[in-house]
């Protein structure tokens, strides 16, 4: 009995999960460039619906000038541009639906971080 109580204190009930499947945009599975999908949800356009953000590894060269000083001798193409896809929710709060994505913009270009 004491053992069971101790377990309850340290292992609280969490919701069991069931795999629903892979998210789609239109009829296609969302499959990011060079993988390493990193999802997040936030209302990006203020319509009260949560939108889907997905980070990706990317395959374009990351500009060496934006790297720290210690990495300025890096060769072009050594690092890639990891970008953030924004899929606006075209459905409802209970049935989100996504179509095309746009990359998050920052400073007049695609927002990016270095990947390798």
């Amino acid at each position: 009995m004491i053992f069971a109580i101790t377990l309850t204190l340290f292992f609280a009930q969490s919701t069991p999960l069931a795999l629903s499947g892979r998210l789609k945009a239109g009829d296609d599975f969302i499959d990011v460039t060079v993988g390493h999908a990193a999802p997040f949800m936030k209302d990006m356009n203020g319509d009260g619906l949560m939108d889907l953000l997905v980070g990706e590894f990317g395959d374009e060269d990351f500009p060496v000038s934006r790297l720290p000083d210690s990495m300025q001798d890096s060769k072009p193409g050594q690092y890639s541009q990891g970008k953030l896809r924004v899929y606006l929710n075209q459905g409802t709060a209970s049935v989100p639906k996504y179509e095309a994505f746009a990359y998050l913009q920052a400073g007049g270009e695609d927002a990016s971080v270095p990947t390798t």
């Binding site: 009930q13 998210l23 934006r66 720290p68 927002a111």
Partner: protein, 284 residues
């Protein structure tokens, strides 16, 4: 989150190279290109490779700290020694541990109230796949973590083809917890990377003959390269590290071997596609 308390939402991102990139909002929904953060000593804030940050007041002192998950080096808190509007990051991160004493692990460490008790827990992905969580068993405003509990089992590694398709999340999982379908239950998004194999057309007779003729030259170049690798590795972990001349010999051997390696791999008939999917788990 509002990094500098000026009323608009900024963005923080990790990177593979280990820096935290800050995208400052200049107006709601308008951001500057990302720049890497420095710590209070003026050095680049860096705690490992492939990291993910979240900003939250971890020590209940009224400003935002950084919670950072890393690919395989643990989960760290960088304390804000400045103010709410002008963060100054500690030079060293504090590795988080559970109350039993184990270091937290997570290729991303995501704050969410997973059990609905009003306190933020940590939900984490893993380099090796799956997802787990650390229940916050501290008092309000404190972070005391219980031992890791599995949410999504790690899949067994197996080579799969494009034709087979995936069966579940792969590696380097990144998670996000929320009520996805507004049914009042916590759900989980799991992003991944995984590689599926496909086959090229078989080599022609001419290509097979070319490969056979090339093989002795490839093996000779590989043996020379392997010697340089062994010499380099023999210095790893020893006082003084790897001597500069040894590193140079390794680099020279690698430069000579690279075209041989490229040509040899061109004869392989199997290739892989890299995928990154987002898997939805719904709370039952």
């Amino acid at each position: 989150m509002d990094y500098d308390a000026d009323g608009d939402e900024d963005i923080l991102s990790g990177s593979y190279t280990g820096e935290v990139y800050y995208f400052e909002a200049t107006a709601p929904g308008v951001w500057k290109q990302g720049v890497y953060l420095r710590n209070m000593d003026g050095n680049v804030l860096n705690v490992g490779i492939s990291l993910t940050p979240e900003a939250h007041d971890m020590d209940a002192d009224g400003d935002l700290d950084l919670l950072i998950g890393t690919r395989s080096d643990g989960v760290f808190v960088f304390e804000n020694r400045g103010t709410r509007s002008l963060p100054q990051w500690s030079a060293d991160g504090i590795p988080l541990k559970t109350s039993p004493g184990d270091e937290l692990e997570g290729s991303n460490a995501h704050l969410a109230d997973w059990d609905g008790d009003g306190k933020l827990d940590i939900v984490a992905g893993s380099e090796w796949g799956g997802a787990h969580w650390y229940q916050n068993v501290g008092k309000a405003g404190q972070f005391v973590f219980a031992a890791s509990q599995e949410l999504v089992a790690r899949g067994k590694f197996m080579e799969r083809t494009e034709e087979d398709g995936p069966v579940g999340p792969g590696s380097r999982t990144k998670v996000h917890a929320m009520d996805y379908n507004a049914d009042g239950k916590m759900d989980l998004l799991v992003g991944d990377v995984q590689w599926l194999e496909y086959q090229l057309q078989p080599l022609t007779a001419k290509e097979k003959a070319e490969k056979q003729a090339f093989k002795p030259k490839y093996k000779a170049a590989e043996a020379t390269y392997d010697q340089a690798v062994d010499e380099r590795n023999s210095h790893v972990g020893k006082p003084g590290g790897i001597p500069e001349e040894v590193l140079q010999r390794y680099q020279n051997a690698n430069d000579v071997f690279a075209p041989f390696r490229r040509q040899w791999s061109g004869y392989k008939r199997s290739r892989t596609n890299t995928h990154g999917w987002v898997w939805l788990y719904l709370g039952e």
